[in-house]
């Protein structure tokens, strides 16, 4: 097969496949790579590690620890509910415990677990050596850990959040939740979500730009499709939550009344923004698990997946539909009749792509010969549980039934069927399937199977009867039910089996521990899998592949491919330049494009996340002035981070295979960094859109008191706004320049806009505490100001690169990212101005 359409720049990349590299001895090659890719020694090595294998595993291990903590909280809840008078916990503590149970399981277990799986597995499966942005992986991990620790510490000191994991306002506003409990949730979760956005950015870029040469987008492993869908949803789904949390924290800290109905705010705005995140969240959790199933089921059945195209279409359908049904969490808030019908239909429709996948998996099993290995047990557990959870989900999408079942134990049962069925069982299948790649050891027989049965029986014993408990009228989140003897036996049953399930999970943990300590050496490629993740020694080395797989290594038994790659047959063998390197390929056809040099071990991510942590703690302690000052080290470290990207020494093109030479990423037309910034700006745009949604919602839907007459001096606003708009249009043009003088002028243009904002508009803004309209205006001014400030910084960064002589004919330095940021900033600034004018006209 020859490719005649290759453009001139791609012509040097081999048409169909790269030539073979000459064979080398495997062991020296291995040593050479290990020297370059290894973590530093000891504890310090854990702090400076940027390796996707180390961090992916650490994400998952930390998530499992949080799962255990969340599980213990669940047992406290079940102990309390085992008897109607539950004298075990007082109400205050009980409220903290169920809030933390939900928050921990969602934000500190499920999301980090799937991020960890993606980070650990994707580079191995796609045939590359690390994630696109190793330092960002580490930053995400530390933000997750520190945010999680803040929340746990609050629980230990009895000041944990207590308003339920969806934190409905006004219950969570300062009038009804004084103290720092709610702030712990808002700040802690937002801190943790830095890791979600970071993971989403780099998972997107890794899947699109780092696939093995020849691994077309349309032929990549299904797991990658699922993770691409997941990361796209995370990029768009998390910003509404972040926006809502920031707005609520502003309301709590400075009394800006976004959600206060007495001052033009609306508690329903919180619910819309929260569920705009919260429903996609369910699929964000489900898709990676489904990706693991689509990978493991065919291997367990010794066949290929049935209906690859249909499954990809189903994934894309889910991604799209999941953003159109958030209102089904709000069927009882008094939504207009037609909207109810629409969202009910959308909620029902989302079952279709799910059904397509379930039937494709069963069809795959028909096509092949299922073998009952341990992962298969968990897959069968998945089917039984998830089908029931899916069916109750469809029931809840039917509005009249929802009006009865909403906020009862029926919903609790449903969501546990979906999340444990759709996430925990598949994750247990994934853990038992990939464990040999982690430990290099085979498991000890017996305990795993027993753990499965105990978990399965415990789970269904707990939650099956809970459907009935709900239908008999038991609401969620109550701690006592002295007047309802008819619920006693049901609750006691749930509590009993809840403890059975916990014993099962303890046995599962024991099984893993036994494998690590007593397991015998696993043979390579133990499942005879066709994917690249098994085409490496066990346990997986830090660099994954001695030489990178190319088209001829795809879709073949992993055990054969492994030998070839170990001997340097693939692209870019070894680490002859003493640098961490991998190939970057084109998005669609995966043609080799350039070689990326990666940063090595560094403590910068730890330092940056620590300084963000200091900021978060200062805000939590309401030391706002100090918190503002704490942003200075954050900014400095971000600058240092950018400096770390500068090329070291002269850049020579690199021969990745005989006769095939590629440039290094500094000279690339479209580097990974640019792709990553685009992905980040998508998330940023979603954040901006969330704020605009808030503006529109409060202006159009909310029937609150009219705002006090605006006191703004219109002419002063007009000239300042005009100045900002003009400066931004100029900035957009200047960022397209290409000489130091353009960069200097660009810096000036952004500085002028910033000064016009600070001096011309901010002093005359109406009091943001008076009315939600004025609060939103102030928030939008702050958003624009922050972006202008960053734009100034990026222009200054480019100037600094000129001063250091780092920008040459071939190397464009930070011009491209500045231009992207400048365009985004200018456009959002102009849209903000237009939106405020429109709102003023409408008001």
């Amino acid at each position: 097969m020859t490719d005649t359409t290759a453009s001139p720049s791609e012509a040097q990349a081999a048409p169909a496949d790269l030539p073979r590299n000459p064979p080398q001895r495997a062991l020296p090659l291995n040593r050479e790579l290990a020297g370059v890719w290894a973590n530093d020694r000891g504890i310090w090595g854990q702090i400076t590690s940027v390796s996707h294998t180390t961090l992916g595993l650490r994400f998952m291990a930390t998530a499992l620890v949080f799962f255990a903590i969340g599980g213990i909280l669940a047992m406290l809840i079940r102990a309390q509910l085992a008897t109607p008078d539950g004298a075990f916990l007082d109400t205050e503590l009980y409220n903290q415990i169920f809030t933390m149970h939900g928050s921990i399981m969602m934000f500190l277990f499920a999301i980090p677990m799937l991020e960890g799986l993606g980070i650990w597995l994707l580079p191995k499966m796609l045939g590359t050596r690390d994630m696109a942005f190793p330092r960002l992986t580490a930053l995400g991990y530390w933000c997750y850990l520190f945010g999680g620790l803040i929340m746990l510490t609050a629980l230990l000191f009895g000041v944990a959040p207590r308003d339920g994991w969806f934190m409905y306002t006004p219950l969570s506003s300062s009038a009804y939740s004084p103290g720092i409990n709610a702030d712990v949730w808002l700040l802690g979760v937002t801190f943790v979500e830095i890791s979600a956005v970071a993971a989403a950015v780099e998972i997107t870029v890794t899947i699109l730009r780092q696939r093995a040469p020849g691994m077309k987008l349309t032929e990549m492993p299904l797991f990658a499709w699922y993770m691409l869908g997941t990361s796209a949803m995370m990029l768009v789904g998390f910003p509404p939550l972040i926006a809502a949390s920031v707005l609520l924290e502003l309301e709590r800290a400075f009394d800006w009344p976004f959600f206060d109905p007495l001052r033009g705010g609306d508690p329903l705005l919180w619910q819309h923004l929260f569920w705009l995140f919260g429903h996609p969240e369910v699929y964000i959790i489900f898709l990676p698990a489904a990706g693991a199933l689509s990978t493991i089921i065919p291997v367990m059945c010794r066949t290929r997946i049935l209906g690859y195209g249909a499954i990809v279409a189903a994934v894309l359908g889910l991604v799209f539909l999941s953003f159109g049904l958030w209102v089904h969490h709000m069927f009882t808030v008094g939504i207009p009749h037609m909207a109810l019908a629409f969202f009910s239909a959308a909620s029902v429709l989302v079952a279709v792509p799910t059904a397509v996948q379930v039937f494709a998996w069963i069809g795959t099993m028909w096509k092949g010969r299922p073998e009952l290995h341990l992962p298969m047990y968990h897959i069968l557990g998945f089917f039984l549980t998830f089908v029931l959870g899916g069916l109750t989900g469809v029931m809840l999408a039917i509005v009249p039934f929802n009006w009865q079942a909403h906020d009862t134990a029926f919903v609790t049962a449903h969501l546990h069927y979906v999340l444990i069925g759709g996430f925990v069982f598949p994750m247990m299948a994934a853990i038992t399937y990939w464990m040999p790649l982690v430990t290099g050891k085979a498991r000890v027989r017996g305990v795993g199977e027993a753990a499965f049965w105990v978990i399965l029986i415990g789970f269904h014993g707990t939650f099956f009867v809970m459907h009935l408990t709900g239908l008999l009228g038991m609401p969620r989140r109550i701690d006592v039910y002295p007047d309802n003897p008819e619920w006693i036996w049901l609750n006691l049953t749930s509590s009993f089996f809840g403890f059975v399930m916990t014993i099962g999970f303890a046995m599962f943990a024991l099984d893993m521990l036994l494998q690590v300590t007593l397991g015998t050496r696993a043979r390579r490629d133990p499942w005879r899998a066709p994917t690249l993740d098994w085409a490496m020694p066990l346990p997986a080395p830090s660099f994954n592949f001695s030489s990178l797989p190319t088209a001829r290594h795809l879709d073949r038994p992993a055990s054969e491919v492994m030998l070839e790659l170990a001997c340097g047959d693939g692209a870019l063998p070894g680490a002859p330049r003493g640098q961490r390197e991998f190939l970057v390929t084109s998005v669609g056809a995966a043609r080799p494009d350039h070689v990326a040099h990666l940063p090595g071990n560094t403590s910068l991510p730890f330092a940056l996340s620590s300084s963000i942590g200091v900021f978060v703690l200062l805000v939590l302690w309401q030391l706002y002035l100090l918190a503002g000052m704490a942003l200075v080290p954050v900014a400095v470290l971000i600058w240092v981070w950018g400096r770390g990207l500068a090329p070291r020494g002269p850049l020579q093109p690199i021969e990745i295979a005989p006769g095939v030479t590629l440039p290094v990423h500094h000279q690339a037309r479209q580097s990974l960094g640019q792709s990553g910034l685009v992905a980040f700006l998508v998330a940023n745009a979603a954040l901006f859109a969330s704020v605009l949604f808030g503006l529109a919602f409060l202006s159009v839907v909310t029937q609150g008191p009219a705002p006090p007459p605006a006191m703004i001096d219109t002419s002063r606003i007009a000239w300042a706004t005009g100045l900002i708009a003009g400066a931004q249009l100029l900035g957009m043009a200047l960022s397209r320049g290409g000489a130091p003088v353009w960069a200097a002028l660009g810096l000036c243009a952004n500085a002028v806009a910033l000064i016009a904002l600070l001096a011309g508009i901010v002093p005359v803004l109406d009091d943001p505490t008076a009315h939600a309209r004025d609060a939103l205006r102030a928030a939008m001014a702050a958003y624009v100001g922050l972006h202008l400030l960053v734009a100034c910084g990026m222009a200054a960064f480019v100037l600094d690169q000129y001063r250091r002589g780092e920008i040459t004919e071939q190397i464009r330095g930070a011009w491209a990212p500045w231009r992207l940021w400048q365009d985004f900033t200018s456009i959002t600034t102009l849209v903000t101005i237009l939106a405020l004018i429109a709102q003023k006209g409408g008001a």
Binding site: V348, V352, I362, M365, L391, V394, P400, R477, V480
Partner: protein, 222 residues
């Protein structure tokens, strides 16, 4: 009559209780209960079908048409079932909605942590009560639901579904009690420390408006 027999059977099956959605005491709750039983039956059949397919997978590998699984079962089978269900949901939804037919209205005002109710008295003057709501039996009643502070939710499971009480808004819910008696209600949306105790009762009266306000509480629960 059908309802009586039904609820008698259900009580035997352990579905009773003062807060049971499965022991409806009025047409709104009964419609929803019927919908539930129908959905349960359908879900049972589908579950058995899927588990059957799964069991049959354990055996020899066999030739199987991809489209039959992804399109036949995945797309058309699920679309068919879901369309039917959605249709049923819309019909029931339509029938239980409040409409402008001059129904009696009662205001239910939620606060941390209790309920106050405002009725229209015999002479047109408002009559307040706390923790006990009065309605006529055998005719539709629209409840206007408001909140003083945080979000609560008004729910009388044996008479109708629930509707949230949201500060700054007024929501409307229709319920009908078939016969006179006392029905239990509660707050369904978590509202803070006193959430579990935020109960109330609804008394349905045979004669409306009652002759004396406040009416004598009738003994015993329906």
């Amino acid at each position: 009559m059908r309802c009586r027999i039904l609820s008698a059977t259900l009580l035997l099956a352990g579905c009773g209780g003062p807060l049971s959605t499965l022991a409806p005491s009025g047409p709104v709750a009964a419609e929803i209960a019927w919908l539930w039983w129908a959905m349960l039956a359908g879900a049972g059949v589908i579950t058995l079908f899927v588990l059957g397919l799964l069991a049959l997978a354990f055996g020899r590998p066999r030739e199987t048409s991809t489209r039959r699984w992804t399109h036949g079962l995945g797309l058309w089978f699920s679309l068919g079932v879901l369309t039917l269900l959605l249709g049923a949901g819309l019909v029931v939804g339509e029938r239980i909605l409040p409409r402008d037919d001059g129904a009696v209205t009662v205001r239910a005002h939620a606060f941390q942590w209790g309920w106050s109710f405002t009725h229209e008295g015999a002479d047109g003057a408002p009559v307040e009560s706390a923790g006990l709501m009065h309605i006529p039996a055998g005719q539709p009643v629209d409840i206007l639901i408001t909140s003083e502070d945080v979000i609560h939710s008004f729910w009388v499971p044996r008479l109708a579904g629930k509707m949230d009480a949201i500060p700054g808004r007024t929501n409307r819910l229709r319920l009908i009690a078939d016969s006179p008696g006392v029905y239990a209600g509660l707050c369904a949306e978590f509202c803070g420390r006193g959430h579990a105790g935020m109960r109330f009762d609804v008394q349905a009266h045979a004669d409306w408006p009652p002759e004396n306000w406040p009416p004598e509480p009738e003994r015993g629960r329906q």
